[in-house]
């Protein structure tokens, strides 16, 4: 481990992206991710990079599309309402098999919602958001250090699979300061991009990045080809953290900042002799479904800062081997450990 520096989550993403070879950042201001743009605009000119404040999130994501098509490591960041606007472009990026990293520092919704931290964009992140049969790889860190590791992973995974990667955080993670070590982050692994539109230099056949296929069977073929890639990712990339699952009567799942609340709750529960365990998904897509099939609790509990979205994935993953409960707050309210503890006690009375 190298030297640790104290850094805000949003700024740490920026530094990690730069260290991962990202030199093209296209943004549009929105709370609570603004510090990331502010960091990038200061740094990029000093290292020969590009920071551009676009006229809208629509334009920003399409600039990413252009940069990614040209073969460079490109990034954009926003928060919920801005991600809705980017969704058009994200669908095209997925369709063009263009690698890039999209950061969503989620705030409460729907509509303009609020500016407090939330996790209510889980469906949007994991189910698409834009139109068509596609997926993003969705990574959900729970500390500033993990934010940094996953930013580096995001660029590498995106290049490797040619799938856009979304880094899903929340306002708390973005704003909080924690010690972080950059020396231990994954090295950039650059993929060859023979498909990129870089100009032929009269040395190769032209490259075309296209997403329109008017022949139904041709479009189907392309979509199914991509689906095969998704199957590989589903097989190889399920990431999670789990502990205390072997004897657990109840397994609590949460991701991102909520998992820090859950850790405190689990300590309280264990101290009281209640057998609570933890599965914390780190990849939200692909969802770490395998581990849910290996555990045998009496109940699952999903703790989220939403009205309960991941709860559906847990149900699918555990194949109803036990009931799946939900506990959470939304609109920007963070659940307390006590609320989780109480919910667990209530559930365990029910399931015995």
């Amino acid at each position: 481990m190298g030297e640790k520096v104290l850094m805000k989550g949003n700024e740490a993403i920026g530094e990690a992206a730069i260290r991962s070879g990202c030199r093209h950042f296209f943004g549009y201001p929105i709370t609570p991710q603004t510090e990331l743009s502010a960091y990038m605009v200061k740094k990029m000119p000093k290292i020969g990079g590009v920071f551009l404040q676009a006229e809208s999130e629509v334009a920003a994501i399409n600039m990413v599309y252009g940069a990614a098509a040209a073969g460079v490591r490109a990034m954009t960041s926003s928060s919920s309402p801005g991600i809705s606007l980017k969704s058009e472009g994200i669908s095209y990026l997925a369709a063009g098999d263009l690698p890039c990293v999209i950061v969503n520092i989620v705030r409460g919704g729907p509509g303009l919602g609020g500016i407090q931290p939330a996790q209510s964009d889980y469906f949007q992140a994991t189910r698409g958001g834009g139109h068509g049969d596609y997926h993003l790889i969705v990574l959900a860190p729970n500390s500033v250090q993990e934010l940094v590791y996953l930013t580096a992973d995001a660029f590498n995974l995106s290049d490797e699979y040619r799938i856009p990667v979304m880094l899903l955080g929340d306002g708390t993670l973005g704003q909080m300061m924690e010690p972080v070590d950059f020396d231990s982050i994954p090295e950039p692994v650059y993929a060859e991009k023979p498909w990129a539109a870089t100009g032929t230099e009269n040395k190769r056949d032209k490259n075309v990045i296209e997403t329109l296929f008017l022949e139904a069977t041709e479009l189907e073929e392309r979509v199914l080809e991509r689906e095969k890639k998704y199957d590989v990712v589903k097989e190889k990339l399920q990431r999670y953290e789990a502990h205390n699952t072997d004897d657990a009567d109840i397994i609590i799942s949460s991701y991102g900042i909520t998992s820090r609340v859950v850790e405190t709750a689990v300590k309280i529960l264990r101290d009281e002799g209640i057998k609570a365990g933890v599965i914390r998904p780190i990849t939200l897509w692909p969802f770490p479904e395998k581990i849910y099939k290996q555990v045998k609790p009496k109940a699952f509990l999903s703790v989220e800062m939403s009205t309960g979205q991941m709860v559906e994935d847990i149900r699918l993953a555990c194949e109803c081997s036990a009931p799946v409960y939900f506990c959470g707050r939304t609109g920007g309210v963070i659940p307390t450990p006590d609320e989780v503890v109480q919910k667990v006690k209530d559930i365990l009375k029910e399931v015995k």
Partner: protein, 250 residues
């Protein structure tokens, strides 16, 4: 000994145009490709094609092409140009694409003085989707979505892009040309060439609006369509150079 009198530009593929007879898209494709050949930039050029009838341009352009979402071509071109500043990047867009759904991207790439070239095909209609009213449709023009003629009280007035963009400091070159006669087509080529030369010389945003025909959706023969362009479009959309900044755009 035979002498070459005419050769197809090498920047055009051998694929036969699938545009309708009398459509200006074919003419403009050829002009653009001739210019690219003359400037010897085929290997450096990256086109951004629109959503509109020219969504198939990559079948004809013999250089790298990126297909953009509807209206987003200038943003996509910005992303490419900022990544590969020594490449020549141009967009090719229809009026629905550039002047309606993509207005924000058009205006802001122009005002940034983005060092790209924009080829704007104004045929006063949504060609690809079967002839709906465009932002550029003339007052009274009958289209699928203005069956009683464009009613300016409820459907507003046409957008004059060149005049609008000429109010900005960012663009370096703005011209409106036409495809109706041989002299006009020659003028059009000169303007297109200048718009590419400007980019090569780092002068920033250049746009050439090309008044064009869509005989199919106008419900006219190619000859009638050319006549409409001359009699109705040119008076409403005066030809000429709207801006020409000789010095480098900072």
């Amino acid at each position: 000994m035979s002498k070459t009198i005419y050769a197809k530009p090498k920047s055009l593929t051998d694929t036969t145009f699938r545009y309708c007879p009398g459509c200006s898209h074919g003419i403009v494709h050829k002009l653009v490709c001739e210019v690219i050949d003359e400037l010897d930039i085929q290997g450096k050029t990256i086109a951004v094609e629109p959503v509109g009838c020219a969504v198939t341009a990559h079948n004809y352009f013999n250089f790298d092409v990126v297909q953009a979402a509807h209206g987003r071509a200038p943003a996509v071109a910005t992303g490419i140009k900022r990544s590969l500043p020594d490449r020549i990047v141009f967009t090719y867009q229809g009026d629905g694409d550039l002047a309606s759904i993509g207005t924000a991207e058009t205006v802001h790439s122009a005002t940034r003085g983005e060092n790209i070239t924009v080829i704007f095909i104004n045929n006063t209609i949504y060609g690809m989707t079967g002839g709906q009213m465009a932002p550029t449709s003339l007052p009274g023009q009958v289209t699928q979505t203005s069956p009683y003629g464009r009613d300016t009280h409820t459907q507003g007035y046409p957008v004059r892009i060149c005049e609008m963009l000429a109010t900005l400091d960012g663009p370096s070159y703005i011209a409106r040309v036409s495809t109706d006669t041989v002299p006009h087509i020659k003028e059009a080529k000169k303007a297109i060439k200048k718009a590419f030369e400007n980019q090569i010389n780092g002068k920033g945003f250049s746009i050439v609006e090309i008044l064009s025909t869509c005989p199919t959706n106008w419900g006219m023969s190619p000859i009638e369509a050319m006549k409409r362009l001359q009699d109705e479009m040119i008076p409403y959309y005066p030809l000429g150079v709207y801006k020409d900044v000789e010095e480098v755009n900072e």
